[in-house]
Every structure is written in structure tokens, then in C-alpha cells.
């Protein structure tokens, strides 16, 4: 019991919940596992290859982009894997690998690292990458010419190939002739859209897990889906057509709920979700069937500081206290 024994000095509090960013990112990847498995079931090695290319490109971009800024890689917080996985799930299995690599560079290099790294990015990196390759279509066309003949394609079952080469459900829906039963879309269907568009149910399972682990709240997904349902019903569409096709589920559950790029107040989250829902329907109905969800999320991301500012609560004792104190305090009461 000598005084010579010394101890580690740290700031209070000296306890912690044990929650960490890597743990939360791991949970998010776990939540994406069901839909990933469904997509691999349909698209076989094509899905595996696409996901691997996307994850690899994202990790490499992180390391290089951060080295340019003289910072250590941020791979250990695992957020780059979540970005990579979500981005991969946004792409169709027929997407050439160079487009996916380009999207990864946009997502992680510009969408995240150039904006200051995890925590400082205004826009959801995956949505940024996905929308970026559409806006920068000339670049992808250029890349396609450069790498023509270097495409990689693995065998798939004939039925899947059939459905892939036909019109996507999103395109069918845009022409108001969706012929696939809703139940199949909900459970499992190789839609030809993004990898995540193979099973709405698998995505809902993942979302439920994130809710259970308290990584997200219900406000954003519910307000997005409810807005889409109500808005499409009002304009005379079948809401289920809209809810079950395209990237809506992935966007509502996994991209719009991104901590960094969504509002921090619950009322703000509902406003945010309603805005996304409205934009999704506007894009889908009036602008054609291309990645309306990614664009809707990106545009609404830009409004987050404004929404936060409008919906913040007042400090304890600053808003209601003076009134309450005047009404209650000095009168003598008996218990």
C-alpha cells in the first residue's frame, strides 16, 4: 500500500455505455446481411463481385484521400465499409465495375473525406456516389470506352437473366403497368434494379434490427414511407407499387437514417422524412424512373442545418421557467 503506486488519470465520467462507432457500423452491416444474401442468391458471383469491388474501392479511396490530407486512414471506424456496402446495394448486377469504382471514389473521396471526414459530411456518401455517376454520365461513358471488353460477367440462372433484361419494375411502374405480384416484390424478386431491390422484407428486417439496437428511431423511415403512401394514393396510384419497388426501402431505412446527415431532433426527423417522401414521388412520377430516392435524400440533406435550427428545443429553465416560477413558487402551500 505504498504511495509509490500510480494510476491512470482520465477525464470524467469514468464509466461508459460501451457503445462505439465501429460497433454501430458493424450492427448496420449486420442489418444489411439479409438483403445482401438475397441478392447473392439471385445474382450469384455477380453480386459478390460487385460488392467486393465497391468495398475495396471505398477502402482504398479512404486510405489515399486521407493520406493526401496527411491523416491516418479511418478504416478502423468501419464507416467506410457501411458506405461501400450500401453503395454496392444501390447498383444493378449488370453495372460495369468501372462505374462502381467511380461511384466509390465520389462517395468516399469527395462525399465524405473532402467534406471533412466522418461527422462533417453534409451529404450521405452512398447517395452522393450513386447520384454522382448519373450526373457525371459523360465520365462513365468515357470509362466504358476505355475499359470496353474488360467487363466481368458471371453465369446466372435463365429466369433471373430474363427478368434482368426485361423492364425493371420501376420502369413498369412509371408506365403504370406493374405486372409483378406485390407479395413477390416484398419477399424476393430479381428486379433488375439495385442489389437491394431484391427483397423489401429483408430490408425491413434489417431496419427492425437497427431500431431494436436503438441506432435509428422510427421517425425518418416511417415519415418517408407514410408520405410516399399518402401522396401516391392521392394522385391515384397504388401506394404498394411505390413502396415495394426501387431503392425506397434501402433509402428510407439505411440512407436517410444516416446519423451524420439527418436532423438531430425528432420533429426535425419527421420534417426531413416528409420532404424526402414528397421529392421521391415527384421524381418518380414526373421525372422518370431513375434513382429518385438518392436525389431526394441528397437534396433534403442540404436542408438539415435549417431543419435542426428550426426544431431545436430550449435549454432547461430558459423557455418555460419564468412563467412557471411566477405562477407557482412563492405561494405557500401545504403538502
Amino acid at each position: 500500500m505504498g504511495r509509490e503506486r500510480t494510476f491512470i488519470v482520465t477525464d470524467p465520467p469514468h464509466l461508459s455505455s460501451g457503445e462505439t462507432v465501429p460497433r454501430a457500423m458493424l450492427d448496420t452491416m449486420l442489418a444489411l446481411l439479409p438483403v445482401t444474401l438475397v441478392s447473392v442468391y439471385f445474382y450469384r458471383l455477380n453480386a459478390v463481385f460487385l460488392i467486393a469491388v465497391c468495398l475495396g474501392a471505398c477502402v482504398l479511396t479512404d486510405v489515399i484521400a486521407r493520406r493526401i490530407k496527411g491523416r491516418r486512414p479511418s478504416v478502423s471506424d468501419l464507416s467506410v465499409f457501411v458506405t461501400g456496402l450500401i453503395l454496392a446495394l444501390c447498383f444493378s448486377p449488370l453495372t460495369p465495375w468501372w462505374t462502381v469504382v467511380f461511384a466509390s471514389i465520389l462517395a468516399v473521396g469527395i462525399g465524405k473525406e473532402w467534406m471533412g471526414g466522418l461527422g462533417w459530411n453534409r451529404f450521405n456518401p452512398a447517395a452522393f456516389g450513386r447520384a454522382g455517376v448519373i450526373i457525371l454520365a459523360p465520365v462513365t461513358v468515357f470509362l466504358s470506352r476505355q475499359f470496353a471488353g474488360l467487363g466481368v460477367r458471371f453465369p446466372m440462372s435463365p429466369e433471373v437473366v430474363d427478368s434482368l433484361t426485361g423492364a425493371t419494375p420501376l420502369a413498369m411502374m412509371a408506365r403504370a403497368e406493374l405486372e409483378i405480384p406485390h407479395l413477390r416484390l416484398l419477399l424476393a424478386y430479381p428486379s433488375g434494379g439495385g442489389l437491394a431491390e431484391t427483397s423489401a422484407l429483408a430490408l425491413l428486417l434489417g431496419g427492425a434490427y437497427l431500431l431494436y439496437r436503438r441506432h435509428i428511431t422510427w421517425h425518418i423511415p416511417v415519415s418517408i414511407l407514410a408520405t410516399v403512401a399518402v401522396f401516391t394514393a392521392v394522385i391515384g396510384h397504388n401506394p404498394l407499387d411505390h413502396l415495394l419497388v426501387g431503392g425506397l426501402m434501402l433509402g428510407a431505412l439505411f440512407m436517410a437514417t444516416d446519423w451524420v446527415t439527418s436532423p438531430i431532433t425528432n420533429p426535425g426527423r419527421i420534417i426531413f422524412g416528409v420532404m424526402i417522401g414528397l421529392l421521391v414521388v415527384v421524381f418518380r412520377v414526373f421525372l422518370g424512373p431513375t434513382e429518385g430516392v438518392a436525389f431526394a435524400i441528397l437534396i433534403t440533406n442540404a436542408f438539415v442545418p435549417l431543419i435542426d435550427g428550426l426544431t431545436r428545443r430550449g435549454v432547461f429553465g430558459r423557455v418555460h421557467a419564468m412563467k412557471a416560477a411566477a405562477a407557482k413558487a412563492p405561494t405557500t402551500k401545504t403538502a
Partner: protein, 442 residues
């Protein structure tokens, strides 16, 4: 009237099982005490004894004229061996009086104050002076001089005395034990303060993880119609003054205001006991109960020790440390002070000494940027956005930190507890507080 809780807060593991069933023990006296002359919020005392002087137990050894302060007394009978600066539990050098503890026979000599048996017929000012002369300060941790709290301005009448028996900090059980072992005295102390302030009632708030204490105190209080016992939700920081008032009275203390603005006075269980002892027995505040616990301690216990007892003596009574004890915390684990060594001594605000192991103790040396997960804003009992506040502080944007309510923060640490980026929120916010206060003075 009572909602029993407040908005926000966290549920850290309680870790109270090791000591909550253990009666308070009187530890054997150490050979030497070091009694700091600045154990409280407010002005430090100057020594009023000399080196070599014999002091009986209870004699005043330090005092000051300042209003916001409290004198310091010799906790034992002994001999002053030094008046010097030593490092205190905060890491700062503090002037104090070293006393060589006299023999057991010597301890019979006491210099207590005069007893006030008929306190119900005694003038408030006499009691206030007594509380001041007895050196009583808040024993919950902040150590604010109690006599000051008992002297509100005329335009702030107090109608309710709240006795804080929440003990929301994990591990600590000293207030729990006092409620079980000294309920009568605690209630009398509360009634004395109620009389001083002309208040109409006393509410004793106890978290519902102490059902035995609630039952016992309710039984004792049944003899006093003006005393109510309220069971409160177990949630940290339920024992924070403003949160306790919100939970028991549903009154919101104005931002940066004092509880007296809403007619309430909050005192810790131990403080109420000290007031009762000072008035009825004339005994100054010279000892307190300290919970020594944590996985790194061999024999966790609740010890009554004289102020100035060295931490090493405290640990000896608790059977010593395990080899894996890695961190030593004075106070509760949420707001306490990490100790680099055993050099500090027990002061009036010391409720616990904890030895934590690696698995339990949280390091915030390596942290990430804020990821806006919003957990901190959800739990902040002051309704701040600790994420924005701490980031502004990290970037030294003091005006932003000011707007984010740096001065409203009560430093409870609830935000940092659940932060997945492991950000040292409290450290950042403390820096901001100092800078904002500096800015406002300029």
C-alpha cells in the same frame, strides 16, 4: 405535483450491491491527518493555529471573513505538525494543516460548540451562525457553504426543503446507509432548516432502487406531518439539484438561476445530518461517511472517517487494492476526480473512493469526431445539444459555445457516458465554460 422524474438522463449500471447492505463502520484513526483549508466552494480559510500547537477535537483551525466560505475544524485531538501546501484531490496545491493524531485518551478532549437543545424556540440567525461556525457545506459533492444557502434574499421566499437522498452516482452508498441508520437525525436537520427559512414542508427524495430506505424513512417520517418521502425514478442525474426539483415539485429553475428562485432549497442527506449534529450536539463538521468500493478494492465498505484522512489509510481499511486496479476515483464514477496516486486526503465533499479495473473504466484519450448520433442530446438533463457545444469547444469557437449554453451545463457526464465516438465531452465543455466566463468578464 411530483412527476418522480425529469427529461433525459441515463441508466448506468448501479454497482451498489457490494456496499449497500453494509453498516457504516468507524475506521481506526490514522497517525496523521492533512486537513485542507479550502474544502468548499468560495473563499479559502486562513489558518488560525500554529505549528506545534495542541488542538482538541472540534477546535477551529481555519476561518475567513468572506461570506461564501466555511471554517475548518480539527477532526481529532492532536498536535499541529505543519501548515503547508500539498496536492489535493483536484491535482492543485492547497494549503492545509497537518495534525499528528493524539492517543485514544487524548481524543476524549473535545472543543465542540454549545448545544442548542430547544432549537424550535431559537432565532433563525442563531442557527445560521451555528451552521456557519460548524463549517457545514453541502456533502453531496459540490461543497457549497450551507449557511449561504440558508440566507436567501427577502424576495426569494423558500416554501419547500428538499432532502436529496437520490444518490444517483453508481457505487456510492453512504447516503443510503445514513438514511437507514440516521433517519431521525436527518429529518430533524431538515426541520431545523425548514424553521430557519420559514418553509412549510420537507420533501425527502429517494431513488426507487432503495426501497428499504424509502420504507424506513417513511416510517420514521410518519411522526412528522410536514415531512413527505417521495420515491423517484432511478435515473442519473436524479440527484442534480435542478433535476430533483423538477422531479419532486415540477418546478423548473430558471436557466443559470438558483433553486431559491422557485422557492426550493435542496440539501444532501449528509448535510441535514451535519446540521442536526451541529445544533443538538454542538459538533462541527469533522467527519463524514465515505464509500470505498469498486472491483479493484478487496473489501468494499462504508467508512466513517475524520476529514483529512489520507486515501492510503482509507484503502488499508478496505483491505487494500487488487493488482488489477487501474484507476482510482475520488467521488462517484460519473463526476469524480481521477487520482494519480494516494497522496490526497478526504475532504468535506468526498463521498467515495473507487478503484476501477480496465474492463470498467472508460478511456477517452482516443476519440473520433462527432457523428451526430444524437444520443447526448437525448440524455442531456439540461436540454442542451452537447454534441454542438463540445465541438464548438474543441474548435475553440467560444462565442458558439456560449450560444450553445456552455454555462448551463451541469457537467453530469451523461452525454459522454453514451458517446459512441468516445468524445471527452466534459473536458471540452469545462474548457468552454472557463473561456466563456473569461470572455464575459472582458
Amino acid at each position: 405535483m411530483s412527476s418522480g422524474t425529469f427529461l433525459g438522463g441515463i441508466h448506468p449500471p448501479a454497482h451498489k450491491e457490494a456496499t449497500k447492505g453494509l453498516a457504516i463502520e468507524d475506521a481506526p484513526l490514522p497517525g496523521e491527518l492533512f486537513v485542507p483549508l479550502h474544502q468548499h466552494l468560495g473563499a479559502p480559510c486562513t489558518a488560525c493555529v500554529e505549528v506545534g500547537q495542541q488542538v482538541p477535537k472540534g477546535q477551529k483551525i481555519g476561518d475567513t471573513e468572506a461570506f461564501v466560505s466555511a471554517p475548518v475544524h480539527s477532526p481529532v485531538s492532536g498536535k499541529v505538525t505543519a501548515i503547508e501546501k500539498r496536492r489535493s484531490f483536484t491535482g492543485q496545491e492547497v494549503l492545509g494543516v497537518a495534525i499528528a493524531v493524539g492517543s485514544a485518551e487524548d481524543q476524549k478532549a473535545t472543543a465542540y460548540l454549545e448545544k442548542i437543545a430547544n432549537w424550535r424556540e431559537t432565532q433563525p440567525d442563531v442557527i445560521r451562525t451555528r451552521v456557519r461556525e460548524a463549517g457545514i457545506v453541502g456533502l453531496g459533492g459540490a461543497a457549497f457553504p450551507t449557511s449561504v444557502k440558508l440566507s436567501p434574499p427577502a424576495d426569494c421566499p423558500i416554501d419547500t426543503i428538499i432532502i436529496n437522498g437520490c444518490e444517483c452516482e453508481p457505487f456510492l452508498t453512504c447516503d443510503h446507509r445514513l438514511l437507514l441508520e440516521k433517519a431521525e437525525d436527518v429529518i430533524v436537520g431538515a426541520l431545523i432548516m425548514k424553521q430557519v427559512l420559514g418553509a412549510s414542508r420537507v420533501i425527502i427524495g429517494i431513488e426507487d432502487n432503495k426501497p428499504d430506505a424509502i420504507a424506513h424513512v417513511t416510517g420514521v417520517a410518519s411522526g412528522y406531518p410536514e415531512v413527505t418521502v417521495v420515491g423517484l425514478h432511478t435515473k442519473y442525474p436524479q440527484g442534480a439539484e435542478k433535476q430533483l426539483i423538477k422531479a419532486t415539485l415540477d418546478r423548473e429553475v430558471p436557466a443559470r438561476g438558483l433553486p431559491m428562485k422557485v422557492g426550493a432549497l435542496v440539501q444532501n442527506v449528509g448535510t441535514a445530518l451535519a446540521v442536526a449534529e451541529a445544533v443538538l450536539e454542538g459538533k462541527p463538521l469533522i467527519e463524514r461517511v465515505v464509500t470505498v468500493s469498486g472491483p479493484g478494492v478487496k473489501r468494499p465498505c462504508n467508512l466513517r472517517v475524520p476529514l483529512g484522512t489520507g486515501l492510503s489509510h482509507l484503502l488499508e481499511q478496505a483491505g487494500g487494492l487488487n493488482a488489477f486496479a487501474e484507476r482510482l476515483v475520488l467521488g462517484g464514477p460519473m463526476t469524480g476526480w481521477a487520482q494519480a496516486d494516494l497522496g490526497a486526503s478526504v475532504v468535506k465533499g468526498t463521498g467515495g473512493l473507487l478503484a476501477l479495473d480496465r474492463a470498467m473504466a472508460a478511456s477517452r484519450d482516443e476519440f473520433l469526431d462527432c457523428v451526430r448520433c444524437q444520443r447526448c442530446a437525448q440524455v442531456c438533463p439540461m436540454y442542451l445539444y452537447p454534441n454542438f457545444l463540445a465541438t464548438a469547444a474543441e474548435l475553440k469557437q467560444w462565442p458558439v459555445a456560449d450560444r450553445e449554453g456552455a454555462l448551463d451545463c451541469i457537467e453530469c457526464g451523461a452525454c459522454a457516458f453514451g458517446c459512441p465516438s468516445r468524445r471527452p465531452m466534459v473536458r471540452f465543455i469545462r474548457e468552454a465554460k472557463a473561456a466563456v466566463a473569461e470572455m464575459q468578464r472582458a
